[in-house]
Symmetry: C2
Subunit: 368 residues, 2 copies
């Protein structure tokens, strides 16, 4: 990976009063090192010292991944006998002189398995939450990162358009999801996807995180599709809601409200303002319509190498938006046991406000 | 989920001297509850008390997943304001009276985020490693589980056969992997896959865990394909090695050795013997051929809801094989910077020995 990122880590650690950062396989590790590792029963742990040195504990059979690195890294490989692993972690900690020091960790990524090996190898160390320090490294995207995210949005949009023709009454959510996954790959999404597509018709749409079911689309359903692509390890996350044939006036109305809330949230995003203004603006539209209690989640989340990351667009979040921060705007209205609506775009803060990387029509389209 | 699984958890906790089990989103949680949750920035934690009561901490917007449960579960939903979450974890712990008790955890699945909420909610509790207790629940598969695994193997095999015709000189690893993913979906694999397919040609095949690259196949390459499908939340994990056009005699020879090692490992698996016999038998074939130092990983791992789980087929593992245990046999030879071979099957222990769920021809096939 770029040595400038490693330099930033070193600087951020010093500013945060941390002596080191410990990362297990996660998007942050990929961001920092360019290395793809997976969560497995064999633990992998990278230790970044504030002085710039890096130690990596990993299984012997992964060592081939370390050829052609453009930076210095000391590998501590272990063999297939788990009882020897603790000793290898200890060697890595001793190499960097980290016992008794402050070693920042990433609580949303690190598992107890890595944590306990680290604790045992550095009995006198403390392990503060480094989430904020890591966010400060990753939260502002550079041009190349934004280009990848723009591509990820384009792939997702093309895949959806290619999927729409098969959506009609009698087709199941699972069938649509499967076709969408194939179209994502055909249109150039890399694996893994940021998340498995959500395809929710009728009452299932009232559950914001439903898994695609065997339920077949019926006349009068709303259909929520929430999907994303991966391009060069950066992701998109878009939602559109469709009408299957003729729908109730109330469903048409809640779609208009959500579409207006989405527009208000997007318009409110500007550099120098706190993240909460986006939530406030979108929520006000829904609240004023009388449907406020059916909008039961925050308005959005940051996006980049992860589908969900900082900044979070929620009430009370006073993080100041800066040029290059990227996040979703995704208000929704969910009528229990009836139907749901969500309209979601991927935004990037610009000098003058914010640009939407997703550009599909937002008004309700009638399918089937 | 089946109440019999919940009953088994309760019994296993008592036998293991644990007062409760804490599970975050993981295959074990799915196994126990039938509920699909994902790892997100919003933590989810289920607490199973030895007396059979269950508490579940989850975001409000996931509560709809709890309709139609066939068992009792007390939900502790939290809202979008993270500062309130600690209090909700505390309510759940108090509801089950778990402070000061032994709460088993799953170190390979639980993250620091859930762990720290749990620790803060139960300051006097201890958190022993419950990996072995969980393995004892999941390690022996019932008929329905084996039927799902058999189906997952069949889907994977059909998908590979449908992919083979496009494999020829000049096609890249990424193109093959993408086609294979599409064929897996077309042939009925559910998402997510147990892992992204490995497609490694020539020198890339010498790295057992390589990611598919832009490298195009060349005459004389060996091609390692390691892939799996998901059926009903159970997975397959198969590897076959192919020849691209005319290959060196040495490559043909190492394939024969690995194929013989695979056969020896499969033949050694029998109820009543330790897992290590499978590794010993396969490794002896490779060692005797003089290529032992190029077989740098254990012979296999358990398989079921996870691609890697207990039992592990490695030297020194004295876990006794029982009817219904399922695992891979996957010896390999990796010649650095040249080529690699691996042949992997999915086995289930039967009364008389072990059955291979994967049945594709194992001899080297020439493509291109």
């Amino acid at each position: 990976m770029s040595n400038s990122r490693l330099k930033s880590i070193s600087n951020t650690l010093k500013e945060s009063g941390l002596d080191a950062l410990a990362l297990n396989p996660s998007p942050s590790l990929l961001y920092a090192t360019g290395l793809h590792f997976h969560l497995m029963e064999r633990p992998v742990l990278a230790l970044f010292a504030a002085d710039g040195r890096i130690a990596l504990v990993l299984p012997e059979l992964e060592v081939a991944k370390l050829s052609n690195l453009s930076y210095e890294l000391k590998a501590f490989p272990y063999n297939e006998e788990p009882t020897t692993w603790g000793g290898v972690f200890k060697e890595a900690v001793e190499f960097l002189g980290l016992d008794g020091k402050k070693i920042g960790v990433e609580p949303l990524a690190m598992r107890i398995v890595e944590y306990r090996f680290l604790e045992s190898a550095a009995l006198e160390a403390s392990f503060p939450d480094a989430t904020e320090a890591i966010a400060s490294l990753r939260i502002v995207k550079d041009e190349q990162e934004i280009a990848s995210m723009r591509k990820a949005a384009e792939i997702a949009q093309n895949a959806l358009e290619a999927t729409l023709p098969m959506i009609k009454i009698g087709v199941s959510e699972k069938e649509i999801a499967s076709e969408l996954v194939m179209q994502l790959l055909k249109h150039g999404s890399e694996s893994p996807f940021p998340f498995q597509p959500i395809v929710s018709g009728g009452p299932n749409g009232a559950n914001p995180h439903a898994s695609p079911s065997e339920r077949k689309l019926q006349e009068g359903d709303l259909l929520v599709i929430d999907w994303g692509a991966n391009s060069n390890d950066y992701v998109s996350d878009i939602t559109r809601t469709f009408a299957i044939g003729e729908i109730d006036d109330e469903y048409r109305k809640i779609h208009e409200i959500v579409q207006a809330a989405n527009a208000a949230g997007r318009a409110a995003a500007k550099p120098g303002l706190p993240a909460s203004v986006v939530d406030d603006a979108a929520r006000k539209v829904v609240d004023d319509s009388g449907y406020g209690k059916y909008f039961n989640h925050r308005t959005g989340h940051g996006i980049g190498m992860e589908g969900h990351e900082a900044p979070y667009m929620r009430a009370g979040n006073d993080r100041i938006l800066e040029v290059g921060m990227a996040f979703t705007v995704e208000p929704g209205i969910y009528l229990p046991n009836r139907n749901g609506v969500r309209v979601e775009d991927d935004m990037v803060i610009t000098e003058g406000g914010a640009e939407s990387l997703s550009t599909l029509p937002r008004e309700i389209r009638v399918l089937g």
